[in-house]
Symmetry: C2
């Protein structure tokens, strides 16, 4: 069955298996020489089939973004997991339940209140809760700032009391805003230096720090030195997307994820083609709006996955998309008859994948060979 | 059980039942005097429980945005449905299967190619496929332009050959960009005038036009005259959202949908509070960015649903949100301890609800009395 078969309903999510394998091989080659653990982040794929392609063993390791992922991947035998979002105290009972089911589930915090709750829970259940302290290397989001030694030692000391301190982690999310190779390399250096400094502070204070974990797709692909790092996390690289292409970490031809859609009408006066995919199928992510090349709601390809001129999804409603030539590009519009199938490359693979509950896996550009379920929720 | 109970996991979707009932009553009062059918759009709620509150009978009528909705609501006994997105020819076999299961499923098109495919399918299955022709009253999206009489008669004549022509429909989506009452009333007048003109053209040409259907929440609430209209569709009004409040169609206190979230950390130097809800729970919809009051990724309320100062969700990543005072508001920041539960009002109820698979229904502000499943997909 190929992507033009009416039995494949549109919109749906398509994954080019060859591209996924190539993207995974590229990351492994990048970090293969270094003595680090590859802990792929499964928040993008949320599929055990996709996870098994990227993990170095069926048991993991892997990073996750929700406790639902811990339960789902745990159920499928993945037993080495890091829940990489700061813990809310109310979630600790569920963390313990997952740990007791046989998963080595590490969690993350950056503050004293949560550290105290972790210790209290670990003590009350007599269950070790391995915890990484989040470090903020670039002011992007959460974490204890590099150099705030007092806070770091305070949180670490509390966790260590109950044997829960496993190490430190960071996410150099600021790298997503970069596009120059030199700036990306500097961000990778800064990420490594900051987290290693935090790890050394702990060790100097006789606090254990077995794990020193970094991760963001742009910095991982731009790193030149991983000394002092024990593990790297990266997620979106498995599929890549237009945003990462804008950053310069991949090319458009590396993007393995697309949304299959069908033409349902036209507004010929405006040179618009209407498709059956709006924000529900594509997501409302407009990340590329801030990059040199604005891809609007996605870059339009033919059914085999080849970009068509400068066609983009210009506007979206819930289940409608408007395809047109990228404003300012000067390319000629294209007649795409009603019923034509197209594929839209996403701005942000995590966001677009999240709108769907399965992947159609294609080989040789458009032959559907498998369907992988994916899950959502918390 | 109330919203502070740890058994209620965050993030999750909360619906204030009293507000929903009030919003429904308000729409019914608005159109109650007119001799029109209320065909609520179920694309926002995607829940049989929510549908039963708003439909005028358990069998419908209702409008839907996917064939999955037709199947799901059909399975629960809703038998009068309008699939209000232009049909792709490849979907017609599935339309027939749904019709044969006992649902009166009307579809929509605006072009000759699809009309021919509808007639061919209806003939080959000996199954009537009732069809409305979409009219474009404001250049917003799809539809035959008001005044393009040749196209309208051409499409209608093809459909009529096989007895498939049921009438005309439009969606005055341009009204979403308005904020002034006079402009909204003018948009409602324009919607009515345009669709009635299309209906009259058909009748003048001896073509049937039993249904004259309009619908957009802003124009429905701003209409002053419904003569010539047989049915109205509206969807988001059941929940309302910050975007509709920005248009002026509702007040913030009418918004019945929110996302329950938990504080997981702080960046005190920047006066940021970090929550466990990012774009995955809130959606990336930034519709209010173009309105006079930018609500960023949502307006922050306490656990009872009361807005807190000028707190908004300033930034989002996948599972992290940054809560801060709205830039430029001058309000004082607020200390919200780790573990505090908050509720975030959404920019766009349809987009936020789409990120979840259930609703927690609350009465008396925060007592959870029911959980309603919701579905997604196509």
């Amino acid at each position: 069955m190929n992507l033009n078969d009416p039995a494949i309903e549109t919109p749906c999510l398509v994954v080019d298996r060859a591209r996924v394998l190539r993207n995974i091989a590229r990351l492994r080659e990048k970090v293969g020489g270094a003595d680090v653990v590859l802990r792929p982040h499964l928040k993008t794929v949320k599929s055990i089939d996709a996870a098994r392609l990227v993990m170095t063993s069926p048991q993991g390791p892997a990073a996750i973004s929700t406790l639902k992922e811990a339960e789902e991947f745990g159920r499928h035998g993945v037993t080495d997991l890091l829940y990489a979002v700061g813990i809310a105290p109310q979630k600790l009972d569920r963390v313990v339940r997952i740990s007791q089911s046989g998963v080595d589930l590490a969690i993350v915090t950056d503050n004293i209140e949560a550290a105290k709750a972790i210790v209290a829970t670990a003590t009350s259940y007599e269950q070790l809760i391995p915890t990484l302290i989040e470090i903020d290397v670039d002011g992007h989001r959460s974490g204890i700032k590099v150099g705030d030694d007092m806070s770091l030692v305070a949180v670490a000391s509390i966790l260590h009391e109950a044997g829960c301190l496993r190490g430190v982690m960071t996410h150099a999310g600021g790298s997503y805003g970069l596009t120059e190779q030199a700036a990306l390399e500097a961000a990778a250096d800064n990420e490594r230096t900051g987290i290693v400094q935090a790890a050394e502070l702990l060790r100097t204070n006789n606090l254990p720090c077995d794990v020193v974990s970094i991760g963001s797709t742009p910095t991982v692909f731009s790193s030149r030195d991983l000394s002092g790092i024990t593990e790297i996390r990266a997620g979106v690289f498995q599929f890549f997307d237009l945003y990462q292409a804008g950053v310069g970490v991949c090319a458009v031809k590396d993007i393995a994820l697309s949304v299959l859609t069908t033409v349902i009408g036209h507004q010929r006066e405006r040179q618009w083609t209407i498709i059956d995919s709006g924000w529900m199928a594509l997501s409302s992510d407009r990340g590329t709006a801030s990059q040199p090349v604005d891809q609007y709601y996605g870059l339009v390809c033919d059914v085999r996955g080849e970009p068509i001129g400068d066609l983009v999804v210009l506007k979206v409603n819930q289940e409608h998309g408007v395809v047109a030539v990228r404003p300012g590009s000067g390319s000629a519009p294209m007649e795409l008859p009603v019923g034509t199938r197209l594929r839209v490359l996403p701005n942000h693979a995590c966001a677009t994948a999240a709108q769907h509950n399965k992947y159609e896996i294609v080989e040789a550009c458009m032959e559907v060979t498998e369907t992988w379920p994916r899950f959502g929720g918390w």
